[in-house]
Symmetry: C3
């Protein structure tokens, strides 16, 4: 609670336009390019840079010996140029002297696999020595730069994930965490986790065994929770230090990766006004806006405001060249606006200029290896002018969505510990988001393990909610009863919060809302459906099939098979004032789309005017003045004709008036932005 107050008190940075820029590493260039780089930034309209987060070894070349002159010069240069600065704490990549003198800071992975120096993110972030040195460098940096008027915010560490850290101290932390969680009650631990299995019960805390050889799904799930907690603790530990120095109008952030399962958003974002995300999306023929929207919808929902994009691809990327794809003409700009259309207030590329050295020699920047103007740099320059022109109207975009997609951190792991098909079994959630996105149903993405107030929504899409508390399941039940529409996927309700299977007929506490039970299921190859109301039969059921026995539900579809066909596969239950449609298999995209559209229609969240579907994507929000801002994207190589579906509006980029029913053309890889 104290911390929540602290958060409110510091929530003071205000964007008046979206910022547009790049990460910048003057210290990496073969020759001194600072003046030239800043000149080219100004020419192309860069308004923000992120600096400093990768260069601990330069700030502190030997233990306790600090050098800041080089960075003073950079910070001063940006101050003079009026380019805003986000300064990073450099803790994700340790100096060589630390690994040499204190090898215990290096991480040890499962089964004794050691980490070595020569790469970033090779440390045990829980290690006391590492923390000691981290605190010292953070304080030194803050002492020197916190008050700089041009520094608008601080990034704490970089792309933090647990990376398999398994050092002894980290395990001891886990043990203490579990002990506290179970209030020291070993009997309870043995029972809830089912440790009697194979006689692996624990009878003193001393016997509690390390993660390495563990097969128990409950232990494994709790370990992942511990990872999320330890990461959030680390970020908040840094935030507590930075807070001692920073001005109130400076924000703290962190550049998260879209591996949402690895991070507890609320615990991690607690002290961050604007959490940030790094999104590397597909381009060329595969550019589709989907990942940007999925990640953006999650970040906007969890930030409860606006978020930042700290890294995104300017050019081809990779740790080698096997998938180095520069964008087609127009794609860089389209992606930038795609971020803003989801609620981002800043887009920064990684990075300003491609490096000549190191592992990321081919992670392309706005400038290439020649450091001269080029096609991408030019497109950036043109796009930055557009942002500058209309920025005040599109910044701080807010949405009030009626549809939501649930995201369960615990189910991600629960499913993947017991895969029903190869690869990431939770990846299917992206198909669920796609079924909304492609049909222009805007949605929030809710981390339902830690956020389960569904009161603003009319439609919930529930991905395999394999691990869930009774309380969460009851909230879904109540949501339907009170008139909500739910599309729910297989395996939901199967396990309790310990990833232990519920000893009752599936889907457990969801049985009433679902209107069926099942006792059996089977791995399957692709199966057809019998005729059904969706008119979709061919190959519509995949990988997994539950044998649903309707009680109050009606059957929407069954598979066409002598044995499996005896049970229902897709059901619909009228429950209270709402409806729950359940899909007891991995549906084909086509079937999923039809089911989602049916429920969206009933929920009243299917777009009324103009049933555009991908690649024509409509996104919208409300700006600071309460005006509706509409984005009309064309994620394809061919221009698209659209009948304008909104009321009288101004097309912002070309100052053209448009009204409902007007024929307008969205160019290939283009976007039209209107204010209604």
């Amino acid at each position: 609670m104290f911390l929540f107050l602290a958060f409110s008190a510091t929530a003071q940075y205000k964007f008046d336009k979206p910022l547009y820029g790049a990460a910048y590493y003057s210290e990496y260039t073969p020759t001194d390019r600072l003046d030239k780089d800043v000149e080219m930034m100004l020419q192309s309209g860069v308004t923000v840079v992120r600096i400093g987060e990768s260069s601990w070894g330069l700030f502190e070349p030997s233990e306790g010996k600090f050098e800041f002159a080089w960075m003073d010069r950079i910070v001063n240069k940006f101050q003079k140029a009026g380019i805003k600065v986000i300064l990073g704490t450099p803790t994700y990549s340790i100096p060589a002297w630390m690994a040499k003198a204190y090898p215990e800071v290096l991480s040890v992975k499962a089964n004794g696999e050691k980490s070595y120096y020569g790469i970033r993110q090779n440390m045990d972030f829980y290690n006391a020595k590492f923390r000691f040195f981290s605190e010292r460098i953070i304080r030194r940096l803050m002492e020197r730069y916190a008050k700089n008027p041009n520094v608008i915010g601080f990034q704490l560490d970089n792309e933090l994930v647990a990376r398999g850290v398994n050092n002894d101290d980290y395990f001891e932390g886990f043990k203490a965490y579990v002990k506290e969680k179970f209030k020291g009650n070993l009997a309870s631990l043995n029972k809830e986790w089912g440790l009697n299995y194979w006689g692996m019960n624990i009878n003193t805390w001393d016997e509690f065994y390390a993660r390495d050889g563990v097969t128990n799904p409950s232990y494994k799930l709790e370990w992942e929770r511990w990872n999320r907690k330890a990461l959030a603790d680390f970020l908040n530990w840094q935030a507590d230090i930075v807070k001692e120095y920073k001005r109130k109008d400076q924000f703290m952030t962190h550049c998260f990766m879209p591996h949402f399962s690895d991070i507890d958003p609320f615990a991690s974002f607690r002290q961050m006004q604007y959490p940030a995300i790094n999104i590397y999306n597909k381009v060329q023929d595969k550019q589709d806006g989907r990942l940007i929207a999925f990640a953006g919808d999650y970040m906007r929902t969890t930030s409860k405001g606006n978020y930042l994009v700290t890294e995104t691809n300017a050019n081809g990327i990779g740790w080698d060249l096997k998938s180095y794809y520069p964008p087609y003409d127009g794609q860089l700009r389209q992606n930038m606006f795609s971020h803003l259309a989801s609620g981002a207030n800043m887009v920064e590329y990684w990075h300003w200029a491609t490096l000549h050295y190191g592992q990321e020699t081919y992670w392309g920047g706005l400038l290439g290896h020649d450091q001269e103007p080029n096609r991408v740099y030019n497109e950036f320059g043109a796009a930055s002018k557009e942002v500058s022109k209309i920025g005040e109207k599109i910044v701080n975009l807010k949405k009030q969505n009626k549809a939501a997609l649930l995201f369960s951190h615990d189910s991600y792991y629960g499913l993947n510990f017991m895969l029903f098909s190869k690869d990431d079994n939770y990846e299917f959630i992206k198909k669920l988001h796609q079924s909304l996105f492609d049909n222009n149903i805007e949605a929030d993405v809710i981390p339902c393990d830690v956020m389960s107030d569904f009161s603003q929504y009319k439609l919930l899409i529930v991905p395999p909610l394999y691990v869930a508390t009774d309380a969460l399941l009851e909230k879904i039940d109540a949501f339907v009863k009170n008139g909500g529409e739910v599309v729910m996927l297989f395996k939901s309700g199967y396990c309790n919060e310990h990833n232990a299977v519920r000893a009752m007929k599936a889907p457990g506490p969801l049985r009433k809302a679902c209107g069926f039970y099942y006792q059996e299921y089977s791995t399957i190859e692709k199966l057809d459906l019998k005729d059904n109301e969706f008119g979709i039969t061919k190959g519509a059921a995949n990988s997994w099939l539950e044998f649903l026995v309707p009680e109050t539900a009606k059957v929407l579809a069954s598979v066409n098979h002598t044995f499996f066909g005896k049970w229902a596969t897709v059901t619909e239950n009228d429950y209270g004032k709402g409806h729950l449609v359940y899909i007891g298999t991995v549906p084909s995209d086509e079937l999923l789309n039809s089911i989602v559209k049916k429920s969206a229609q009933r929920a009243g969240v299917l777009p009324l005017k103009g049933q555009y579907t991908f690649p024509v994507i409509l996104r919208e929000g409300t700006n600071d003045k309460g005006k509706k801002i509409h984005y009309l994207f064309n994620y394809s190589a061919n221009a698209k004709q659209v009948v304008y579906p909104y009321g009288k509006s101004l097309s912002l980029l070309d100052n053209r008036n448009v009204k409902n029913g007007d024929n307008i053309e969205i160019p290939a890889w283009g976007v039209i932005i209107t204010e209604e």
Copy 2:
């Protein structure tokens, strides 16, 4: 010899009906279900349970502190219910305290790979500390339960295989074993194993190097023999302890896995009246009875009596859900009878009820996670009534087969150390068994490295007998000479008992019986045959081709190829009173079937009446009263019409008389059982 006497003296448990039940773990259930479970067992006809083998940690929660009350209650409950009990020694899964206090009991695999706690079977079963604790818990268990009237037998350890144990003490054991085998003669060791190669000769026993980096095929083969010996020694060590306590009418057993290459049957079964096997077979569209018959034929042959099935699949199984296949209706019952038709006296599922925790959460039991009656439970109940009804007639089934398939432990390893195609090169033996099974030629499966009395047989199928003593090859020669029919596969006779190649024209000592020699061979892609008496040409030769030069043999087939076609591929030799057909390639199933049928015809073991082939499978044996029992299986989803091929009989399950020539129908996934 002393031990053989001991074996005879204890051979006193007598089955009067097949037992039918499941493994049971009351200690794993989320709530206390013992009463309810036993009630449901009685309702469904469970007659036997296996308990205790997995719960050392509960018997001995701390070092030297024992708790048996929980098990007393279970044993007493079953005694009252009249359900027979097989009690296991719990040594395959060590308690957490042991790994913590004595980490040296954990196994170390090749190249220093360590084992960790959190899973079963992670110990060095040769370790003295482990043996100390094992002996103590076995004695305690025996003291407490040995005399229980309801306990019919004891299972020693569980699914024992060597699992790559490579600890120092285990290697020292190997060294001592080799030293004894070679009577300390290093010159002989260097010579037989060819250690001069790469100058890796040994000149003191101290220099004898560990398994880790070894490439020498002779060493590797001997290591596998050591594994088999060490496993058998461990089982007999447990048997010696248990014998001190058990009644004479209680049997000892072990649940072997059908990885027959890993276990020396006679050394391991020595003190076991009824060795047991765990068979997890394919179901749904892939149910075919083949693995059940193959493993059953081996177990029946090697047990020299009857055997038990301690585990088999009740439902979908797996350590994840990627191949979770519940049986179709009727398949559970059909598989149970398939076991009995091979000579099993007991079928136990693993397990009674599906677990809610742990790695095997999705290893389905008779009950599902809801612990309520279901389709599979109901099918079990119906089948158990049938077993009860006809059990006295079908128990203790004996066979006197005239055909046999050889199985060579040494050749399994010899071939796989020098693969001629990817994957397990000895797996082909299952195709050989299938060529018998599918054509309804009942056969024994003989571990020919340790059992080579072929006097009762007319037909031998010899799989690639890559490693063999001269003595074994001479017995095969004599078998043919004396009128036997042999179908022999490529590579037979190539290496001596040290897995060293014989320095003579192949097939070495088999040359006379084969009637050809060869000096060359080649890896091949699929090749066609030239026209031949079998009328089979397309893609009939695969992977491997020997260049056979007939001396007395005639050519049955050659490949259709400019170069390779100059030699023979399939030959037949009239030798003495018998014939040897040799296949110098990996034949297609079609070609193999034709060759086997030809030899079977000549041997007089091809079924005379009714040439039924898979999926209609006929199995038979003689019961305790000397009556013929016939099983007629239909391993397919469609009912099959069969003209009854035997004499006047009684169909046991429906008390119907049938006689030769009657048209009878075997239902889909069905079985008919008659007494002639």
Copy 3:
């Protein structure tokens, strides 16, 4: 300089005929076969054997205890038989006692991966203890055998490559090497390698980190150079010892592997009159002479004279049997002559007789496991008669090629550290050689990192020259300017000698000679070309595409694609008196062939008479008497008719006269050899 003199002084062994034989291991045979083997060698025409290099454990069965009697007998036997002997130092496979008593000699690979005894080449060849024992055994061997009149040369160690050695002492050697290279200047090291990236700068030499975790491409490249230096140093260290004992007419050699990237030829060959190579080539339907020619062209070029073939396949080979392919009739002989046609003076098979033991049980020799005459042995015998008959005319063959293919050790690693497609990205160099070989353009293969005098050539083929000094690029520039023809592949000129990207428009210093620049590139799938002068469009561009912007160059081809088609893909630049054709993609074989032929035509190196292409391959050279020797090969299963393209000649094998225009037939897998 001193060493160069030493080299000259010892260059005294003179071949009067090619030698033809095999490696021989009397010490490996199951029975004593020495007399029989030598008798069979004499019968079949063996003129040379290689012995001793694999049997340290027999020379020194215990530490410091030596046994040579067994080898005396062998050497004496060959002396009596008049079969020449090459004696090997046995240092590539250590005795068991050494690994036991001095485990520190075993190599440790990256990330702590340990080596174990039981295989060859498992030592840290840099280890002082290993060097001590190596020196002692070498001196003992030399003392005993150096003066033997029949010993013509010495092989130092065997198939030496670094094999991932990463022991501490080896790393310390690397650190000292780097320190010396950078003259102790850490600032220079940090700058040239770009160690500021991720703050991994080094500030004391003590901090310099080991290879294990390194990702820096400059470090990784330098490590590979260190490997090459350490290997050459080791060979020269052995040579210095051997030189103390050997006669001047005895040569030193080493059997290199055709992994040319691993070995610095000049540093390694420095004291070797005749370096040798082990070539295992494809046979049966895949026999094509290509690897023999590629490796031979490299060895001939780098040996600056003639070279030896110490190992090549007599029969099927492999460490298992998955690709065991004996040669078709005639192929053994054809391959032998293929070696000679490239400039080899000796062909030795590995090995005389197939082993009965060990990892290489199926590495087939001239004799098979039966040790009796066979098809291959007979073909050897016939071929050896031919060598004996015409040997004086074909030995010491010299070539004066006008075309050359560059080979860059550094680019091999530079490209492979940053793969643009899966697998070895430098393997493409074999396609480049093939485009010459298949079109009968004889070429040298030049290790251009250490040899860049192009004055004798008219045509250079430049493979992706990704890493190069400015000096090398300037030499190529000058070559074109002075009238040379160049075909250059993508990525050339991209990085400097530190594997750091040049900060200038690509292709950097090559821009003027190329006549274009480019700023962008993309990974691609297969793309078609637009119509072009080569008439080749379908799928001609693969994997990688550079966006070439011509300045003075003309466009020869562009891809057929809306976006990518805006740039050039193949260009030609008139530069000075020469021309440079550049291919900015991975071309199809067909496109590559056409481009190379066009440039070869202009360079005047396309064969004038008779445009034969693969499988008809013409090779030639000049013998000791200055006469032209022509080889006409047919690498196919069908006889080929050829119009004899040279002047009046004698067909050496059949003493037939042939003249220009004669129709002659080359048999399947055959060869005709003429003296013009």
